[in-house]
């Protein structure tokens, strides 16, 4: 394989992996606080349409990312209010949020179909990306660097800061955290809002990085894959990075298979299209064969908090 093709593939892998990584990082923080938000797909779709609309009208991709984040936070607050303030069932509420996000984004986007936007340009000057190695290092738009920074930042936050310790305490033992004076609900609200912002940004990446237009359900289940990756990664940020790139690779193979030619096209394109989902099942199976996956899960995951007194 010649170098140019290899680099082209690498760049595609990075683009496909980034939204999953960003969304999964948000969900990781949410789950570490003891909350299971299955609405990632819905929040991503809401972020995608918000980002698209702002990019369409302003042409400023940074504003579009911010809009995606803001829309994701708003959506996550619906989830937060129901599950944290009213202790509603988290599984059902997350599903409702995804159904809502699918409908909301389709409605908001109904007048924008088949209208192109401009893709987000690389962060660094093009001169830096002329050499192949320069392209690999400096050829990407801002969200790619953001995703890498967030992997490190979230790891640092969770394991090296006091606030991160409190967040983990709330996720592992909410009653104790409550009894020593921390606001369990407050911490979880912040975590849920962070997860919403990250899912919103991840959604906005779809029109900004991948396909420069609006399409209904354009996130195509990537939000669910992000949720699965958090399990796969045993709630650890660096493993999440590896998992997201594994999926990016699988999805890129699909793109090349569909483009036709080469050894990949022997297998029907539908098999490639189904591959990310089957791969998700495969990694979930592998992770549970290797050890009991549930031992790493935050102890309070998915359970509503009701103070004992």
């Amino acid at each position: 394989m010649d170098l140019t093709l290899a680099i082209a593939i690498l760049v595609t892998v990075v683009g496909a992996s980034t939204p999953i990584l960003i969304a999964a990082l948000g969900e990781l923080v949410v789950e570490r606080s003891g909350v299971l938000n299955l609405g990632v797909e819905g929040m991503m779709l809401i972020g995608a349409i918000a980002g698209f609309v702002v990019q369409f009208h302003t042409g400023n991709p940074y504003l579009a990312l911010l809009a995606g984040a803001a829309a994701g936070v708003m959506a996550s607050l619906i989830f937060g209010f129901l599950t944290l303030s009213l202790s509603a069932n988290q599984t059902a509420t997350g599903l409702a949020l995804t159904i809502f996000g699918t409908g909301f984004s389709a409605l908001a986007g109904s007048s924008y179909s088949a209208r192109p936007v401009t893709l987000m340009q690389p962060l660094f000057p093009v001169e830096l990306a002329t050499h192949p190695i320069g392209k690999v290092l400096f050829g990407y738009a801002f969200p790619i660097y953001f995703s890498f920074i967030m992997v490190v930042a979230i790891w640092y936050f969770l394991h090296k800061t006091r606030a991160g310790l409190i967040l983990r305490a709330v996720g592992e033992n909410d009653q104790s955290a409550h009894s020593i004076g921390y606001s369990v609900t407050g911490v979880r609200y912040l975590a849920v809002m962070f997860g919403g912002a990250m899912a919103g940004i991840a959604g906005a990446c779809f029109p900004l990085l991948l396909t420069p237009q609006w399409a209904e359900r354009m996130t195509a289940g990537r939000g669910w894959i992000a949720v699965a990756l958090v399990v796969f990664a045993s709630w650890k940020p660096f493993r999440l990075l590896a998992g997201a790139y594994l999926f990016g690779l699988v999805m890129t193979m699909e793109l090349y298979a569909k483009a036709g030619g080469g050894p990949l096209s022997v297998i029907p394109s539908e098999v490639w299209a189904a591959m990310p989902y089957l791969a998700t099942i495969a990694v979930l199976v592998l992770i549970s064969i290797r050890r009991d996956a549930s031992t790493n899960a935050p102890a309070c995951l998915g359970k509503p908090f009701l103070p004992a007194n």
């Binding site: 009213l86 509603a88 159904i99 809502f100």
Partner: protein, 360 residues
């Protein structure tokens, strides 16, 4: 004036059944306001979506046909969710059920015989059960989360449709369209009221609801499902194996989703097309919750959701409301219902200043 939540001694049965009604009414009210605020004829939309399908007798047959799959899938999901088994891949099991029925219809194409339809129905149910047994197997053997596996299988099943109707099952006379040939007469579900589109699946759905209600309230199977969901440790103590419950819940919900799929392909569609996945499997999740995971409630909830589907189409043509609005109304119903759940276990007390000092 302050309000305070006070835990009830036991869950309120009144609230259990009053809250779904309140959720629908609140959705109509707030939905109307929200859609007005974003520039649509909000209350016109509410009237068309929630009332026109009921007041216009020409729409009743559509209601029945839309409600049937929602009820059949919703009944299965209500049984699984009762047992705390989160099968959210009913859409995939519905698709595999439809494909299995299609397989039989194509294999018997051109033949006649009363046995073809029952064979299709059996194949559809078996297909749904087989597809649901994958998450069941992974959950019981390896403790893999059934939410994620059942959902991922749904995405994969959609691709299976695309592959089958593009290549091996493609209609040879279809002018290149990716779809199967039209089923022969013997493989089509008969209509039961002449001159309408109401097919055999409609009374079957109601029957499924009543049978499930009987099974859930009057048999050991139903007791097992309810106990495992409500009190897992008591169920273990009582000798109910958790794994067996997971298998039963998955097979029942998958089999019913498969049944809905085969009825849908043999009834309204009469051939397999790319548009076969219509999200009934996902909407049935709302149906199950709105029906309070009670099979009889699911029948009512299935009709309510069918009303919004039919009404959504009406609103699209009469007042130009985008079809996506239906999904928003449906999700709002579920949001309100989940929000109101707290009223089952808690009551809202107005506390005067004095009273709050006393309790403090």
């Amino acid at each position: 004036m302050q309000f305070r939540l006070e835990k009830r001694r036991e869950p309120s049965r009144f609230m259990l059944y009053a809250t779904p009604v309140a959720a629908v009414l609140l959705t109509m009210l707030l939905g109307g306001i929200i859609f007005s605020l974003i520039g649509y004829n909000g209350f016109g939309a509410v009237r068309e979506i929630f009332l026109t399908p009921l007041t216009n007798p020409y729409k009743w047959q559509d209601l029945g046909v839309k409600a049937a799959p929602l009820i059949i899938i919703g009944v299965g999901l209500s049984i699984a969710y009762r047992a705390n088994v989160w099968n959210i891949g009913a859409e995939g099991q519905y698709i595999i059920g439809g494909l299995a029925g299609t397989g039989v219809a194509l294999a018997t194409w051109g033949m006649t015989g009363w046995w073809i339809l029952p064979l299709m129905v059996l194949a559809g149910m078996a297909g749904g059960m087989a597809y649901a047994s994958i998450p069941a197997l992974l959950k019981t053997r390896l403790n893999v989360n059934e939410i994620l596996t059942s959902l991922m299988l749904t995405y994969a099943s959609v691709q299976l449709i695309y592959y089958l109707i593009r290549a091996p099952w493609k209609d040879p006379m279809g002018m290149g369209f990716p779809q199967t040939r039209l089923f022969s007469e013997a493989a089509r579900l008969p209509t039961i009221i002449p001159g309408t589109i109401v097919h055999l699946g409609v009374p079957m759905a109601v029957l499924v609801g009543f049978i499930a209600w009987f099974v859930m309230t009057r048999t050991v199977f139903g007791y097992r499902m309810r106990v495992v969901g409500a009190a897992p440790s008591a169920a273990r103590y009582g000798g109910f194996s958790e794994n067996k419950t997971i298998w039963l819940a998955m097979l029942v919900s998958g089999g019913l989703a498969g049944l809905a799929g085969v009825l849908e392909v043999a009834g309204p569609f009469q051939r397999m097309v790319p548009g076969f996945p219509t999200n009934y499997g996902f909407t049935a999740i709302i149906v199950a919750f709105l029906g309070r995971l009670n099979p009889l409630g699911v029948i009512v909830a299935g009709v309510v959701l069918a009303i919004t589907f039919v009404g959504g189409e009406v609103a699209q043509t009469t007042i130009g409301l985008p079809n996506a609005a239906t999904g928003i109304f449906q999700a709002m119903m579920l949001f309100f219902l989940l929000a109101a759940d707290i009223l089952i276990k808690y009551r809202v007390r107005r506390v005067t200043h004095q009273a709050s000092v006393e309790t403090a």
